[in-house]
């Protein structure tokens, strides 16, 4: 599909331009600044809806393709385009950002225009990461994205924010520089940074293993996978609500996207050879981190660990395909795990974002994230309680919510490969239910915990709007995931073919 105007460039640069405008407006123009932020993020969302509408879901090829020369000396191009994997992630990004802006409307007291500006710039860069078809452009945006996030956690975060944000930055930076070395290596070999060319570049097994490892470090940190996940709980706990939402809903998806766009198609043989490693790490994340989540005292930390466990499903779904082919000898079923991984990414974006917003609602009122400080919130905040229970159920994977679809597909795919994989993966359903419902029980239900809880005000209109929109999305995706699956299908089928081909 092709429009006569560069829709993807607009999607990338409109929020960035609005962010810069906000910085120029400065703190004195807060009254206008807020509305600029809201208008820009809503306009971006509207454009992305248009992108979805015009998207042709019958083809796996890149759509809305744009190409401009960029750096002749490195043969790097400004190339944008989307397929069935990146388009839903872009829509997720543009969907979440206005909610973050609304959620921060009055909650941010310190330099609010800079806060909104940081989120808008971040939004543009994240859309760019999903839309970039040139590895150098991808890398530049991937790294540039760290800067606004670093500032968001560091300026508007909690007491240990400096530690958390520096850890976040250095972890992800270290992960990415190895990816850079791998990309340069492939460029020197093939003479191009175009992702399509890199996917077609023949590589020996040894090269593939090294490149795969470099990518693994970069993406595993971002996902994050056990054992390089330790930055995430810190970052989440210290980040302001909006930062946690973006981090959980979108930034973690970059890792999953990286596996699908880089690791699997560029180094298929190494991925096939090393899939046991990824499956082991994913299952460890799912089971072990599930137990870790169970014992958390801090609500944000609990959701952070639950995010790690849920992202374990994404990596499991992505790499289980090789095992399915090995076990069944046919390619048809292999796509199921990838389908599940993609649905899980979108669903986790909605659910974890919503849960962080719920915790933000409580935190704004009580200035505490400790589970022990709450109890019986439903008595004073019935509407909030209803939302919280819904999102908790979605997090636990209740059928009818979006959380169910992704986990179910991945577990089903795991069954095709190996009973024990599926067994371990299914453990998460129990664990997930345990830690989420226990959280809900302790925070929402029961008798009113203390005087401060007794004085809580229920959701105001703005908060209800944000959570309501997310609730609709979670239910819609849970009840009727077909539109999403249809959009992805051709791209995932093509990806499976690429994975099964050898590049040796």
């Amino acid at each position: 599909m092709q429009l006569d105007w560069p829709i993807l460039s607009v999607l990338v640069w409109l929020p960035v331009a609005a962010g810069v405008l906000l910085l120029l407006v400065g703190e004195r123009g807060l009254a206008v600044g807020r509305w600029i932020a809201l208008a820009a993020s809503l306009a971006t969302f509207a454009i992305s809806v248009l992108l979805w509408r015009e998207f042709d879901s019958r083809t796996a090829s890149m759509q809305f393709f744009e190409q401009q020369p960029w750096i002749g000396a490195f043969n790097a191009w400004y190339t944008l385009g989307v397929d069935g994997i990146s388009m839903p992630l872009i829509v997720l990004t543009t969907f979440i950002t206005p909610l973050v802006v609304i959620a921060g409307w009055t909650a941010i007291e310190k330099r609010p225009t800079q806060y909104f500006a940081a989120f808008l710039i971040l939004e543009g860069l994240m859309i760019g990461v999903f839309a970039a078809l040139d590895a150098m452009l991808f890398y530049v945006l991937w790294e540039a994205m760290l800067i606004p996030m670093f500032v968001i956690i560091g300026v508007w975060g909690g007491p240990r924010r400096v530690y958390a944000t520096v850890k976040f930055f250095l972890y992800t930076f270290l992960g990415s520089v190895l990816m850079l070395v791998a990309l340069i290596y492939m460029y020197l070999k093939g003479g191009s940074y175009s992702i399509a060319d890199l996917q077609a570049l023949p590589l020996s097994m040894r090269e593939q293993v090294l490149i795969f490892t470099a990518f693994l470090v970069a993406f595993a940190v971002k996902v994050p996978m056990w054992p390089v996940h330790t930055w995430l709980p810190d970052a989440h706990v210290e980040a302001p609500t909006g930062g946690s939402v973006i981090l959980a809903a979108i930034m973690l998806k970059m890792g999953g996207y990286g596996f699908l766009r880089f690791s699997l198609p560029m180094t298929p043989d190494a991925a096939r050879e090393l899939d046991w490693l990824l499956i082991t790490l994913s299952l460890t994340a799912v089971v072990y981190i599930g137990f870790v989540a169970l014992v958390q005292q801090d609500m944000k930390k609990l959701i952070a660990y639950s995010s790690i466990a849920h992202m374990g499903f994404v990596t499991l779904g992505a790499f289980i395909a090789f095992e399915i082919v090995r076990a069944t000898g046919q390619v048809q079923g292999a796509a199921m795990g990838l389908d599940g991984a993609m649905v899980q990414m979108i669903s986790h974006g909605l659910v974890s974002g919503a849960l962080f917003l719920c915790i933000g609602v409580l935190y704004d009122r009580m200035h505490s994230r400790q589970i022990a400080d709450y109890g019986g919130v439903i008595n004073t905040m019935p509407i909030f309680g209803a939302f919280m229970v819904l999102f908790a159920m979605a997090n636990a994977g209740l059928p009818g919510t979006s959380g169910f679809v992704g986990e179910f597909l991945v577990i089903l795919a795991a069954f095709k490969a190996n009973f024990w994989y599926a067994f371990l993966a299914a453990v998460t359903l129990i664990l997930g239910a345990a830690y989420t419902l226990w959280l809900v029980k302790r925070v929402v239900f029961g008798p009113v915990g203390n005087d401060r809880v007794a004085q809580l005000q229920d959701l105001n209109g703005r908060e209800s709007l944000v959570l309501g929109v997310l609730a609709v999305a979670v239910l819609a995706l849970g009840l009727w995931p077909a539109p999403l699956l249809d959009v992805m299908r051709p791209t995932i089928e093509q990806l499976v073919q690429q994975m099964m081909m050898t590049k040796l």
Partner: protein, 483 residues
């Protein structure tokens, strides 16, 4: 040399140098008759000198390598580019320094005169085609810098820095000269082209050549400030008045690059693989490690930037040690971007300082975002650029160098370089942390520097972003001027 044998070509070839020499003498003389109130004239004349030199360099620019003055002098696209960047760096240093010196009543004409002589040294250096010319440039530059460092007579710490710099610098110059004399003895010529041919004829591992080479590498490493010849860098950067530090950190690095390129690549390229590659590898890796690690422990921003310079020098040397034209152009690109970032960084220190207060402690950057969001953003861009985070220009410089290193098959060097740039990111992040995450302890409005400086400093920060978003032109320029 018989004066009659100077041709017209020779004069055209050296026109910028001759002009700068003459103009500097005029500045020196005019300054004698000026009082403190009319000293702005010196400043203006110095800037005019730089403008005139840029014009001359542009119009006499040689698109091909042209040798004159009996083979001792060369003009090529590389020398034109380096000279023009040097004019810019010196002009910015003069501009940033003007207000600072005026407020402290140490605005002496010598600052400009010595600065212009140092520039002349750089120009001679970048156009040198023989060992003697090279040495002449090195010494003219070094002597001017020694004096510049000591130029605030009241300051004990500056005098100490100048003495350290002078003593160590003289030893290094001695080593360089000794190495040159041995190379002359072995190859029988002072001219770089002849040396290059002679070295090609010699068997690999010719002991005299390697012996001389070792001393030359010592000299080059010292001028760059690379480990283990770096000990002067933090003390001098710290002790010198900030405008001098700014001067020192910018344009002379272009001279050092030229010194390395002319001597090692053009003169002794034949012993690259069998001689200096390993030596430079060691120096480069050590510089990157020591620079980045020790910078973490600094509390003074001038010292921190000094160690950061050492690590940047390590990256420049990485490009040089690749020994390919890709590597040299990457190193050149790195040097130019480093100069842009470095003048910006020290410019910020000047901007934050005011009369009776030196903003040279890291703590002085606390809460800058609350005091002045725009210049906090400029510093943020400079810091992330130095750390090598895209989309700023420092990233492309590191990328170019790493690409050059990978292209000659040194995977481990590339990995060491990127891993240590992560270590380096830590101390740059700390500056951002102080500016953005902490509340100001010092609420005074920024006073350092006048309107012109603020505009140029803003442009300086934007250049880091603009060159990072669209690095193509400068990269291609750097690739084109290296044969």
């Amino acid at each position: 040399m018989n004066p009659a044998s100077i041709t017209r070509l020779d004069l055209v070839l050296a026109a910028p140098e001759l002009f700068v020499l003459a103009a500097t003498c005029v500045v020196l003389l005019v300054d004698l008759f000026l009082t403190e109130r009319t000293r702005w004239l010196t400043f203006v004349l110095s800037l005019l000198t730089l403008a005139g030199a840029s014009w001359l360099t542009t119009v006499t620019g040689f698109s091909e390598r042209t040798v004159g003055w009996h083979g001792t002098y060369v003009a090529d696209p590389l020398s034109s580019l380096l000279k023009i960047v040097a004019y810019g760096a010196v002009a910015v240093a003069f501009l940033y320094g003007h207000g600072y010196l005026q407020v402290r009543r140490i605005l002496k004409g010598e600052y400009y005169v010595l600065g212009l002589f140092a520039l002349l040294g750089i120009m001679v250096l970048v156009s040198a085609n023989s060992l003697v010319t090279l040495y002449l440039g090195v010494e003219l530059l070094a002597l001017s810098l020694y004096a510049l460092v000591a130029f605030n007579r009241e300051s004990g710490i500056a005098a100490e820095a100048a003495i350290k710099y002078f003593v160590l610098g003289s030893i290094a110059s001695g080593a360089l000269l000794y190495g040159m004399s041995i190379i002359y003895g072995v190859t029988g010529s002072l001219e770089l082209g002849v040396i290059s041919n002679a070295a090609l004829q010699m068997p690999a591992g010719q002991i005299g050549l390697l012996f001389g080479l070792a001393f030359i590498v010592v000299g080059v490493a010292f001028k760059f400030g690379a480990v283990p010849f770096h000990t002067w860098v933090p003390d001098v950067y710290h002790g010198a008045p900030t405008p001098v530090t700014l001067f020192l950190a910018a344009a002379p690095k272009l001279g050092s690059f030229a010194l390395a390129f002319r001597l090692l690549a053009e003169g002794l390229g034949a012993v690259h693989a069998t001689g200096w590659q390993d030596m430079i590898t060691m120096v480069a890796v050590l510089s990157i490690i020591v620079g980045n690690v020790v910078a973490i422990a600094q509390t003074n921003i001038k010292r921190m930037l000094a160690y950061s310079t050492i690590s940047h020098v390590g990256f420049i040397l990485l490009g040089i040690l690749a020994g390919t034209s890709q590597g040299y152009s990457a190193a050149l690109y790195y040097t130019i971007t480093y100069v842009i970032m470095s003048v910006g960084g020290f410019g910020m220190v000047i901007l934050l300082s005011r009369k009776g207060f030196e903003a040279d402690s890291l703590e002085d950057f606390k809460g800058l975002n609350a005091r002045n969001p725009w210049f906090a953003a400029v510093m943020l861009m400079l810091m992330f650029s130095m750390a090598g985070v895209p989309p700023f220009v420092g990233f492309w410089a590191k990328l170019a160098v790493i690409q050059a290193v990978l292209n000659v098959g040194s995977l481990w060097l590339a990995i060491v370089a990127v891993a240590l740039s992560v270590v380096g990111a830590y101390y740059y992040l700390r500056v951002v942390k102080l500016m953005y995450f902490d509340e100001p302890t010092d609420e005074a409005a920024l006073q350092g520097g006048g309107g012109a400086m603020r505009i140029v400093l803003s442009l300086n920060g934007l250049a880091v972003l603009a060159l990072g978003l669209y690095p193509g032109l400068l990269l291609e320029l750097c690739a084109r001027v290296i044969p």
